[in-house]
C-alpha cells in the first residue's frame, strides 16, 4: 500500500459520486430525493475543485468550492420553498403527477 494517494483516485471518486447523483436525478420520483441527488452532484464537483487546487498549489480552487457551497445553500433554500408550494397546490410529491400539460 503506497503511503501517498495519487490525485487521480480523488478524481475517480468525484466521477463516481457525480454519476450516482445523475442516476438519482433521473430515476427517482420523489421531488425531495431528486433535490438531494443534485446536492450530491454538487459535492462531487466540490471534491474535484479541491483536488485540483492541491494539484496547482493555489488556494483559488478552495475559494471556488466555497462559492459553490454558498450557491448550493441559497438554491436549497429557494428550492425547498418551491417544493413546499408545489405540495400545497398539488398535494403530491411525485414529480410525474405534477404535470397538468395535456399531451
Amino acid at each position: 500500500m503506497p503511503a501517498t494517494v495519487p490525485l487521480s483516485w480523488y478524481l475517480i471518486l468525484s466521477a463516481i459520486l457525480f454519476g450516482l447523483g445523475v442516476a438519482g436525478f433521473l430515476f427517482r420520483r420523489n421531488i425531495i430525493t431528486v433535490f438531494m441527488s443534485i446536492e450530491l452532484m454538487l459535492n462531487a464537483v466540490n471534491l474535484s475543485f479541491i483536488a485540483f487546487s492541491y494539484q496547482l498549489k493555489q488556494v483559488d480552487g478552495n475559494i471556488f468550492a466555497l462559492f459553490v457551497m454558498v450557491v448550493a445553500a441559497a438554491e436549497a433554500a429557494v428550492g425547498l420553498a418551491i417544493i413546499l408550494t408545489v405540495f400545497k397546490n398539488r398535494a403530491t410529491l411525485t414529480i410525474d403527477e405534477v404535470s397538468t400539460l395535456k399531451n
Binding site: P6, I32, Y54, F67
Partner: protein, 172 residues
C-alpha cells in the same frame, strides 16, 4: 496511512451515495447524504483544505441538510410507492451503470495518473512553505482577490431568503 484513510472514507462516501439513490424513504436518503458529506469533509482534510472541511460540516451538513430534514418532516413525506420498473432497466440498469463508471474511472486513471501529484497530508503548501488551505490563506484571498464575488454572494443569499419567505408564505 493516508491511503488507508482515503480508501476507508471513500468507501463510506460511495456506500452512502448508493444508499441515497436506492432508498425509498426520503429521510433515509437525507441521512445518507449527511454521511456522504461527512466522509467528504475528511477527504478535504486529507487534501489539506482545513477551512473547507470545517465549512462543509458546518454549512452543508449542519445547515442545509437540517433544512432538508425539516422539510421532509413538515411534508410528512412517505416512502415512495413501488412501481413496476421496466424489465430492461431491471436487468441492464445496474450493470450498465457499473460498466459506465468503470470505463470513466479507467480513462481518468490512464489520463491523470502520469500528470498529477501524489497527495500527502500536509502537502498543500505554497513555494514559501506557507500552508494554503488554512482559514488565513482562504480569508486572504477572499477579501483581496475575490472581494467582489464575495459581496455579490451576500446579496445572492439575501435574495434567496426573500424568495424563500415569499414562496413559503401562507396564502391569504
Amino acid at each position: 496511512m493516508d491511503a488507508i484513510l482515503f480508501l476507508l472514507f471513500a468507501a463510506i462516501a460511495v456506500a452512502c451515495g448508493i444508499n441515497l439513490v436506492v432508498q425509498t424513504h426520503p429521510i433515509s436518503s437525507a441521512i445518507s447524504l449527511i454521511g456522504v458529506m461527512g466522509a467528504l469533509a475528511v477527504l478535504y482534510l486529507l487534501l489539506g483544505a482545513e477551512f473547507m472541511a470545517a465549512a462543509q460540516m458546518i454549512v452543508y451538513a449542519g445547515a442545509i441538510m437540517v433544512l432538508f430534514v425539516f422539510v421532509i418532516m413538515l411534508l410528512n413525506a412517505g416512502a415512495e410507492k413501488k412501481r413496476n420498473t421496466a424489465t430492461f432497466a431491471k436487468i441492464f440498469g445496474v450493470p450498465a451503470l457499473v460498466g459506465f463508471l468503470g470505463l470513466v474511472s479507467f480513462l481518468i486513471q490512464k489520463e491523470m495518473l502520469p500528470r498529477t501529484d501524489h497527495v500527502k497530508f500536509g502537502g498543500f503548501v505554497d513555494k514559501d512553505g506557507k500552508a494554503l488551505g488554512t482559514a488565513e490563506a482562504v480569508g486572504n484571498a477572499l477579501f483581496t482577490q475575490y472581494l467582489l464575488p464575495f459581496e455579490v454572494t451576500s446579496i445572492l443569499i439575501l435574495i434567496a431568503i426573500l424568495g424563500a419567505v415569499v414562496l413559503a408564505r401562507k396564502e391569504i
